[in-house]
Amino acid sequence: MGELKSWKELPLGAITFRLSTDVKTGDWRALRPVIDQNKCTKCLLCWLFCPEMAILWGGSKVQVNYDYCKGCGICAHECPVKAISMVPEYEGEAL
């Protein structure tokens, strides 16, 4: 435990010492959302509903940030054109 900090070195209150982005919550995923770009109408409902802000939109195509997507499936449920399918992680293509 040598590299861990003592209580005297911590910031006040319950501020974590690391940025929350350091924790790659994508590791938790069992099902992976895969977007069929041919069906996608870029309505961005998935972007709006994603509780993890893991839907990326740069202005051209909707993508998933697999580093943080926990695979909850809300995007697939909300997609009005069924462009998102939830694929078991072990069956999906390597990322």
Binding site: P11, L12, G13, I15, T16, R18
Partner: protein, 422 residues
């Protein structure tokens, strides 16, 4: 009140006499304390605090943002959010409302947010009861809040203002609850002395001041507050590798608050001419006392008057009123009680299967004293049952028997007073 040792900055003639009940006294203190956010939900016997304060808001007498929430869980959550954003936040509740808040109470203290809350103590259900005991306060005992118990309406007013100063002290940064007994104080009119507004403003140093902290991912120390321009996450995950370390500063801050409560009590004395013991404990005739009653809250007045009568009869009795229940003033309690022969700790609440919470603290404090006094626990006043002078006299008479006998029979460590038992 004894002769003043100092000339206060605001002697009585420079203060305003107001006729208020305990709840209105809290609201009046709040009006003067430059509170930014009040989020609360009504519950008897706390309702008048929020009712009265919302009048001040509606009249434009305060700048406070008043949030009418849908539950006490939300009230405390809103206070956590407001305080995390740097606001001076306040709420008030009682009984079931406090029970609903409990989850967030731990979050407020764990995040080191200096929220102030008035708890108008009321019994917990079932059966439903709206009257006073301390079972709701005992429920929050281990939540990491500084808990101050008041004896009368004047002290309630004084303590509400002091609470902000204690909570916001840079070395404390902990939430503080001010406890007043439901109905006995909350609904009882008393003439009290209030400070002029500017005196309170000066005492608190204006609005809440933020403290700085060092966070790894920023080069400079930052204000401990949420700011969209400089994002911080308060309270996210810390597991077995860090949770324990993050709890230690909270425990240290609670211990440090003893010093601050004492300092604030002294400062208040210099300002107003009023003080309550040393801030933590308020002793009465303990110097040579053989028999001591320990209690909290409004019953202390009744007990004091009976103790005085017994003193006149030549009985060496005394009273130790605990003002600060958390932090528990171990040092003072030990010093003040270790020369007594018999101590009765009065609890207005009980952990069934154990004892009253105050008794457990007093016993554990005195375990390491040289001459361990006999200590017995009296449970009294549950559900608002009045503690009458005759009850206190019965207690003292019984303690005199204990003193003569020289020991407390094991089955008599826990006694009940004022309950029909035959």
């Amino acid at each position: 009140m004894s002769v003043l040792e100092v000339v206060p900055k605001y002697p009585r003639e420079k203060q305003v006499m107001i006729n208020v009940n305990g709840d209105e006294a809290v609201a009046y203190a709040l009006k003067q304390s430059y509170v930014d956010v009040v989020a609360a939900y009504p519950i008897t016997p706390q309702t008048i605090i929020v009712e009265k304060f919302s009048e001040y808001v509606a009249n434009g007498e305060v700048h406070t943002e008043f949030v009418a929430v849908e539950s006490e869980h939300s009230a405390m959550s809103a206070c956590v959010g407001a305080a995390a954003a740097g606001a001076r936040a306040f709420t008030a509740t009682s009984s079931q409302g406090l029970a609903l808040m409990v989850e967030i109470l731990y979050i407020a203290s764990g995040m080191r947010l200096p929220i102030v809350m008035a708890v108008v103590n009321r019994a917990l259900s079932a059966p439903i009861n709206i009257h006073n005991d301390h079972s709701d306060a005992y429920l929050m005992r281990d939540s990491g809040w500084v808990m101050l118990f008041t004896e009368n309406v004047q002290e309630t007013y004084d303590t509400t203002i002091q609470a902000f100063k204690i909570a916001e002290h840079p070395e404390v940064q902990l939430p503080v609850s001010v406890h007043l007994d439901g109905f006995f104080l909350s609904h009882t009119l008393e003439n009290i002395y209030a400070l002029p507004d500017e005196a309170v403003y000066e005492f608190l140093g204006g609005a809440r001041k933020l403290v700085k902290t060092k966070v790894d991912y920023f080069a400079e120390e930052v204000d401990y507050a949420l700011d969209p321009g400089r994002p911080l996450s308060l309270g996210p995950l810390a597991l077995y590798d860090y949770y324990f370390e993050m709890k230690i500063p909270q425990i240290k801050a609670m211990e440090y608050s003893e010093k601050v409560i004492k300092e604030v009590n002294e400062e208040w004395y210099k300002l107003t001419g009023r003080k309550y013991g040393n801030g933590l404990v308020d002793p009465y005739k303990l110097e040579d006392a053989e028999i001591v009653i320990v209690a909290m809250g409004s019953s202390a007045g009744t007990i004091r008057s009976v103790v005085k009568k017994y003193r006149e009869k030549g009985v060496r009795a005394g009273l130790l009123r605990i003002r600060s229940f958390r932090p528990f003033p171990r040092k003072d309690v030990k010093e003040l009680l270790e020369n007594a022969n018999v101590v009765a700790v009065l609890d207005k609440g009980i952990g069934p299967g154990s004892f009253g919470a105050l008794y457990l603290d007093v016993v554990s404090t005195l375990y390491t004293s040289k001459s361990r006094p006999l200590i017995v626990n009296y449970i009294y006043g549950l559900g608002g049952r009045d503690l009458q002078p005759v009850h206190v006299a019965q207690i003292i008479d019984k303690l005199l028997e204990d003193l003569k006998r020289g020991y407390i029979p094991e089955e008599e460590r826990l006694r009940f007073i004022g309950v029909r038992s035959s």
